[in-house]
Amino acid sequence: MTGALPYRPDDQRSGPQGRLLQSAPPPASSTSSVRTSRLAWLRADALHAIRLARIDLTLLGRNQTALFNVLLLPLLVGWLFTATGAPRGRIEGVPAEIYVLTGLPALMLGFAVFVNLVNTFTARREELVLKRLRGGQASPAAILGGSALGALAVFLGQIALLALWITRVEDGPLPANIPLLLVGALLGVAVFALLAAAFSGLTPNAELAQIAVLPVLLVILLAAPLFGPLEALPEPLRVAASVLPVTPVLDIMRTAYLGGGKDLADQWLSSLPSMGLLLAWIALAALAARFLFRWDPRRG
């Protein structure tokens, strides 16, 4: 792990005194420019985010309650939406159970990513963990990105469990287009991680965070075309669902999983409007996070 990264091109060491502690300073190459330092920063951000995501997963592994929830959630909703009074027959030519299950990951984003991250950001802010991380080497983007990356890993694990349920219990197919599925998951996690950062800024403590997320969860659960196409929803919900970020994630993932009778190119093409909508949401959520997110505890 000896760093040969030309990280600090304009470093001027204060003198020979500094050498003892700073043994083997990185060689600052004379050709290094602002551009290479930007690249080095990006690289450092990525490495930091991965490191922090791994720490998050380690911590999840040590918190048995949280781990149980993470593993149980997809199986529980799978059972809830198929084995109990859910629709029977076929929806848009697909067995109803499988149609519903392939839409579920988008709704799980609300729990696995949004609620989880609002809690994490709020608790860590109040416990001064965020402040400590910010005082270390990682940049703000790397700190938030690390948590989002950890949430993405958990979310993908849950999708895998759900796919297992679909193939084993419902005799359904495996996902048709895994790259598209991953893109959908990535965009969805990005939107909800940024929204979580914004919401944590509004929440004074971890207990109140549980309440603050409820309206969002309610909207996610109601205004989503889970049991049929968007057109089948009642008017006010349909309008809400058509602009909210759950619908595009759901569309992308259902298309990616079931194929929708299209070939691969068509699956990507037909997902482009959804991706555009998600990118707009990412921009909006990033803006909200920028103004609302807080590093320091709320006092008084």
Binding site: G3, S14, G15, E127, A138
Partner: protein, 350 residues
């Protein structure tokens, strides 16, 4: 304040003349409350500078501005020539921060926490400091979860995290608060060795002994202002020397005689304390920063240089005692201490 003294002092050999930390007329307010009211100081490369003050003096606020957590409200700050807030990205790899409290991931072990910080230093191209756990004396706690550490142990872990990236400038916010005396001494040793290795250190403390033992320069802060600054010797000189003795007769008896009142020494009136029928007299002579005596009545001796004031005062005192045929019992002359200087700052501003 005599900041000019510092800027004219030649730099020690091997250091560039540029200060490692430069604070100029820094102001910081929270709503209506002005936590820092226009302070200035300079820390040269390789030196240890202590900000001494009571709780709420503005030490931590000053540190947070220097650490880049918040922009300067007024005035300017530079660390290694960079603006710590606007140029945080360039500065961060070169500084180490020990916060005043908390902020650990409680379910990680000590070893995992330090490894994570070592990794993050490596990620920015800094060869991490090996043996940071041993350095702070937590080797036997390496496998303990952080939440199970005592307050003092957490402070030591905090120190390990602050030095793990081999910083050029180290910020220590009350590094030994909550430690037992032995741990405190160990931490002083660690800080001393970091300084010996050339690290510039800025620390805050409310332990006078800590500042006295470690600091090359220090500043006493009170209610957002620096009241006294310089080397330990200079600040202590501010406190002024003290002369104490016991009067063999009652002051009332003395006063009955012509000219029997106790004299002013270097323009200072005596303080009398009565115990068991005898009176103890104390003079606190003016320190270096006092041009005129605190009570406003200029007297003989104030034109004498501070270092000679005790001598001149004793001459006056002996002459007076001889004139009244008195023997001053248990006569004691002692230099002012850092505690005297500190209490005077706190007391004056009260």
């Amino acid at each position: 304040m005599r900041m000019t003294d510092e800027t004219t002092t030649p730099s020690p050999p091997g250091t560039s003349g540029d200060p490692a930390v430069e604070v100029t007329a820094l102001r910081q307010r929270y709503g209506e409350f002005e936590a820092v009211r226009g302070i200035s100081f300079t820390v040269r490369p390789g030196e240890l500078f202590a900000l001494l003050g009571t709780n709420g003096a503005g030490k931590t606020t000053t540190m947070e501005v220097l650490e880049g957590f918040r922009p300067a409200g007024g005035g300017s700050v530079r660390v290694l020539g960079l603006d710590p807030y606007a140029q945080r990205r360039r500065l961060r790899p070169r500084i180490g921060i020990m916060l005043q409290e908390g902020g650990f991931l409680g379910d990680l072990t000590v070893a995992e926490t330090v490894a994570a910080w070592q990794g993050m230093a490596a990620d920015v191209g800094h060869e991490p400091l090996p043996g940071a756990i041993e350095l702070v004396g937590l080797a036997d706690k390496a496998k303990t979860r952080v939440r199970q550490l005592s307050g003092g142990q957490k402070r030591r872990l905090d120190l390990a995290l602050a030095v793990v990236s081999r910083p050029e400038v180290l910020f220590l916010d009350e590094p030994t608060t909550g430690m037992d005396p032995e741990a405190r001494r160990d931490t002083w040793t660690v800080i001393g060795s970091l300084k010996a290795a050339g690290t510039t250190i800025l620390l805050t403390t409310h332990y006078l002994e800590e500042a006295e033992r470690l600091a090359d320069h220090l500043a006493i802060m009170h209610r957002g202002e620096i009241h006294s600054a310089g080397t330990v010797d200079e600040v202590v000189a501010d406190a002024g020397d003290r002369i104490t003795f016991r009067l063999p007769v009652q002051p009332e008896t003395l006063r009955a005689r012509p000219g029997g009142d106790l004299p002013f020494l270097a323009g200072t009136a005596p303080t009398l304390t009565y115990t068991d029928g005898s009176a103890t007299v104390t003079y606190t002579l003016p320190g270096t920063s006092s041009g005129s005596p605190p009570n406003g009545s200029p007297g003989p001796g104030t034109d004498v240089p501070p270092a000679a004031r005790a001598h001149a005062a004793l001459a006056t005192l002996f002459a007076w005692a001889a004139g009244h045929d008195l023997t001053l019992e248990r006569l004691e002359v002692r230099r002012g201490t850092l505690e005297d200087a500190f209490l005077r700052v706190v007391g004056e501003a009260r």
